[in-house]
C-alpha cells in the first residue's frame, strides 16, 4: 500500500513542474467551467447540450490540429482559417452541383496546395513563418472572394451532410472523425520519423540541421499537412452548417490559436502535443457554450478569444512552463 504510494510519488516526481502546472491548471479550468455553468444555467446539464458541446469541441479540434503541429516546430500558420474558408467555398460549389467526390478532393487538394506554398516560402524562401502565412491568409481570403462573388451556397446533399450532422451509434459523426484524427496524429507525432523531426526542429532547428536532418523538407511536409487538415476540416464544417460563403474562414483563426494555447503547446516549439489541443478544444467549446447559454452577445466572442490567448500564454509563462528558450 505505502509502497504503491511511494512509487506513485516517485513517478510524479519525475514529471517536470511546468507539465504539472499545465495539467493541474487545465483540470481546474475544466472543473470550474462545468461547475459554474451547471449552477448558472439549467440547460447546461442536458443531453442535447452535451452533444452540442462535444460536437463543437470536435470541429474546434479539427481546425486546430494542423496548427498544433506547425506550432510544435516553432512556427505558426496564421492562414489556417483562410485556407479552410477557401477550401470550403470550392468544395461546397462542386458538391452542390452534384460532384461529390470531386468536391471532397478539391477541398483536400486546395488545402494541400496552400500549405505546400506556405512550407516552401518558410523553409526554402526563409520568410518568417508569421509573415508568409499572413500573406497567404489574405491571398486565400482574396481568392475566396473572387470565387464566390458575394454569393452564398446553400443546401448540400444529405449523404454528404452525414459527416458533419449525422450520428453513428448515437455519437455525432464529427466526434468520431476528430477522435480518429487525434489517434492518427498522436501516432504520427510519437512513433514516426516525421514526428521525431517535428519535436527536434521545434526544440532546436539549428541542432537538427547540423545533425543531418533534412529540416527544410520536413518543414514543407508539416505546413502541407496543416493545409491538408484545414481542407479536411472544411468538409466537416460545410457538412455541419449546410452552407458556405467567402466569409466562412474569417473568424476561425483566433479560436484555433486559442485552442492550441489552452492545450499547453509552447509557442516557441518543441513542447506540447496533439492531446493537449484536444483538451484545449473541449475547454474552448465549454466556454463558447457557456457564453451562448448565458446570452452573451456574439460581438464579444473575439474579445474572449483574445483574452484566452493572452491569459493562457501568460499563465504558462509565469507558471514556470518552459516557454522561453534562449
Amino acid at each position: 500500500m505505502s509502497a504503491d504510494a511511494n512509487q506513485l510519488a516517485a513517478r510524479i516526481g519525475t514529471i517536470p513542474s511546468d507539465r504539472i502546472f499545465l495539467i493541474v491548471s487545465r483540470l481546474v479550468a475544466l472543473i470550474l467551467l462545468i461547475t459554474v455553468l451547471s449552477i448558472l444555467s439549467p440547460y447546461f446539464l442536458t443531453v442535447g447540450n452535451f452533444i452540442n458541446v462535444i460536437r463543437q469541441a470536435a470541429l474546434q479540434f479539427m481546425m486546430a490540429a494542423g496548427l498544433t503541429i506547425v506550432v510544435l516546430t516553432g512556427g505558426i500558420d496564421l492562414a489556417v482559417g483562410a485556407i479552410l474558408g477557401l477550401a470550403a467555398c470550392l468544395s461546397a460549389s462542386l458538391i452542390s452541383q452534384g460532384y461529390l467526390m470531386l468536391g471532397a478532393a478539391s477541398a483536400l487538394l486546395c488545402g494541400l496546395a496552400c500549405g505546400l506554398v506556405n512550407g516552401v516560402l518558410v523553409s526554402y524562401g526563409r520568410i518568417p513563418a508569421f509573415i508568409a502565412t499572413y500573406g497567404m491568409l489574405w491571398i486565400a481570403h482574396g481568392l475566396g472572394y473572387v470565387f464566390m462573388k458575394g454569393e452564398v451556397i446553400y443546401g448540400l446533399p444529405d449523404g454528404f451532410r452525414f459527416i458533419g450532422a449525422g450520428f453513428l451509434w448515437g455519437i455525432p459523426a464529427p466526434v468520431l472523425i476528430a477522435t480518429a484524427l487525434l489517434v492518427v496524429l498522436h501516432v504520427l507525432l510519437h512513433m514516426t520519423v516525421l514526428g521525431r523531426a517535428i519535436y527536434a526542429i521545434g526544440g532546436n532547428a539549428t541542432a537538427a540541421r547540423l545533425s543531418g536532418m533534412p529540416v527544410s523538407r520536413r518543414l514543407v511536409m508539416v505546413y502541407a499537412l496543416s493545409g491538408f487538415l484545414s481542407g479536411l476540416a472544411a468538409l466537416v464544417v460545410i457538412a455541419r452548417v449546410n452552407a458556405a460563403d467567402s466569409s466562412l474562414g474569417e473568424d476561425l483563426l483566433l479560436p484555433a490559436i486559442a485552442a492550441v494555447c489552452l492545450g499547453g503547446t509552447s509557442l516557441f516549439g518543441g513542447v506540447g502535443g496533439i492531446a493537449g489541443t484536444a483538451i484545449g478544444s473541449i475547454i474552448l467549446a465549454l466556454i463558447i457554450n457557456g457564453l451562448n447559454l448565458l446570452g452573451v452577445q456574439t460581438f464579444w466572442q473575439n474579445a474572449v478569444m483574445g483574452a484566452i490567448i493572452l491569459l493562457s500564454v501568460l499563465a504558462d509563462q509565469l507558471g514556470g512552463a518552459r516557454l522561453i528558450r534562449q
Partner: protein, 325 residues
C-alpha cells in the same frame, strides 16, 4: 596554416551602381513598374487630381506604417493596429456625437492607443511572449470592444467641423498631408536624434546584449508599442473624417497594408535594419498599387490577394538578398 587562411574566400564585388540597385527598397521598383503601366494604360492616372487623391488615400496608411516601422525594427510586429484604429475612431466619435468637445474625443482616442501599446508592449518586452501572438490577442479584444460599443453599426451624424481632418486645406496643402509630414518629422527626430531611437535599432540588433548590459531596455521596448498606438489613434481621426462616419471594422486589414509598406520600404525583419524614409515610399507604393488596380478595373477581391502576393514576394526577395550579401 590552412587553406582558407591562405586563400580567403573571394567576395563578389559589384559596381557601385549595381550594388545600389540591389539594395534599393522594393517600393522603388514597384512604383516604377506601376507608374509606367498606369501612365501608358490609363489616361486618368498621371493627373494632378488623381495623384492628390493617392496622397490623401495613403495618409492614414503612412502614419500607421511609421509606427509599425519602429516595431518591426525591434524585430516585433503589431497585428492589432488596424482594429485599434477602428476602436479609437468609434470611441472618439461616440463622445463627440454625444456632445463632448473635440479635445475629449482626441484625449480618449490617444488613451486607447496608449493602453493597447502598454498591454502589447509589456507582454512582449517584460513577460517575453511572442509579438504576433500578443498582438493577435489584442486584435480580437480591440475588434470586439469596437463592435460592442456601436452594436455593429456605424457612428454617423458627426459635427460638420469634423470633416476638416480630411477636407481641410492649410497653406494650399490638405490637412492629411500636413499630418503625415508632421508624423514623419516627429518620428524622424525620435528615431535618429534621441536615445529612444538608438534603443530601437539596438533592440532589433541584439536585445540580449542590452539586457546583459543592464540598460533599461524593457522601458524603451514598451515605449515603441505605445508610440505606434498614439500615431494610430491620431490617424483614426483622418480615417473617420474621410468616411464621414466611424465604423468598428474600418481598420481591419490596415495592419496588413502597413506591414507591406514597411517591408516594401526596405525595413528588414531581422537585425534592426531599415528606416522610415523607405516606409513613406512603401506606403506610396501600396497606395499606387491599390489606386492603379482600381483604375485598371481590378476588383477589391483581387486586390486583397495581389497585395498578399506582393508582401510575400518582397520579403522573399529581401531574404534572398540577405543570403547573397
Amino acid at each position: 596554416m590552412n587553406d582558407t587562411a591562405a586563400h580567403p574566400p573571394q567576395l563578389v564585388q559589384h559596381a557601385p551602381l549595381v550594388q545600389a540597385a540591389i539594395h534599393a527598397p522594393g517600393a522603388l521598383y514597384l512604383l516604377a513598374v506601376m507608374g509606367v503601366i498606369l501612365t501608358l494604360g490609363t489616361p486618368g492616372f498621371f493627373t494632378a487630381a488623381n495623384l492628390t487623391n493617392v496622397a490623401l488615400q495613403v495618409a492614414v496608411l503612412t502614419i500607421v506604417a511609421l509606427g509599425m516601422t519602429l516595431i518591426i525594427l525591434t524585430e516585433g510586429i503589431d497585428l492589432s493596429l488596424g482594429p485599434v484604429l477602428g476602436l479609437c475612431g468609434v470611441a472618439a466619435s461616440l463622445m463627440i456625437v454625444a456632445g463632448y468637445p473635440l479635445a475629449v474625443g482626441i484625449g480618449l482616442a490617444v488613451m486607447i492607443g496608449i493602453c493597447f501599446g502598454l498591454l502589447n508592449g509589456s507582454l512582449i518586452a517584460v513577460v517575453g511572449m511572442p509579438p504576433f501572438i500578443v498582438t493577435l490577442g489584442s486584435f480580437g479584444i480591440a475588434q470586439s470592444i469596437a463592435t460592442v460599443l456601436t452594436q455593429g453599426d456605424s457612428v454617423v451624424n458627426l459635427p460638420a467641423y469634423f470633416r476638416w481632418f480630411n477636407d481641410g486645406i492649410f497653406l494650399d496643402v490638405p490637412v492629411p498631408i500636413w499630418a503625415t509630414f508632421a508624423a514623419f518629422v516627429v518620428t524622424a527626430v525620435l528615431l535618429y536624434r534621441t536615445k529612444f531611437g538608438r534603443y530601437v535599432f539596438a533592440i532589433g540588433g541584439n536585445r540580449q546584449a542590452l539586457l546583459l548590459a543592464g540598460t533599461r531596455v524593457r522601458l524603451y521596448h514598451v515605449a515603441v508599442y505605445v508610440y505606434a498606438g498614439i500615431l494610430t489613434a491620431l490617424a483614426s481621426f483622418i480615417m473617420t473624417a474621410r468616411m464621414n462616419a466611424a465604423h468598428p471594422t474600418i481598420g481591419v486589414g490596415l495592419e496588413f497594408d502597413a506591414i507591406a509598406a514597411v517591408i516594401l520600404g526596405g525595413t528588414s525583419f531581422e537585425k534592426g535594419r531599415g528606416g522610415i524614409a523607405g516606409t513613406v515610399l512603401g506606403a506610396l507604393a501600396v497606395g499606387v498599387l491599390r489606386n492603379g488596380l482600381n483604375l485598371l478595373g481590378v476588383g477589391t477581391e483581387w486586390q486583397v490577394a495581389i497585395v498578399g502576393m506582393v508582401i510575400i514576394a518582397t520579403v522573399g526577395l529581401d531574404s534572398l538578398r540577405r543570403l547573397n550579401a
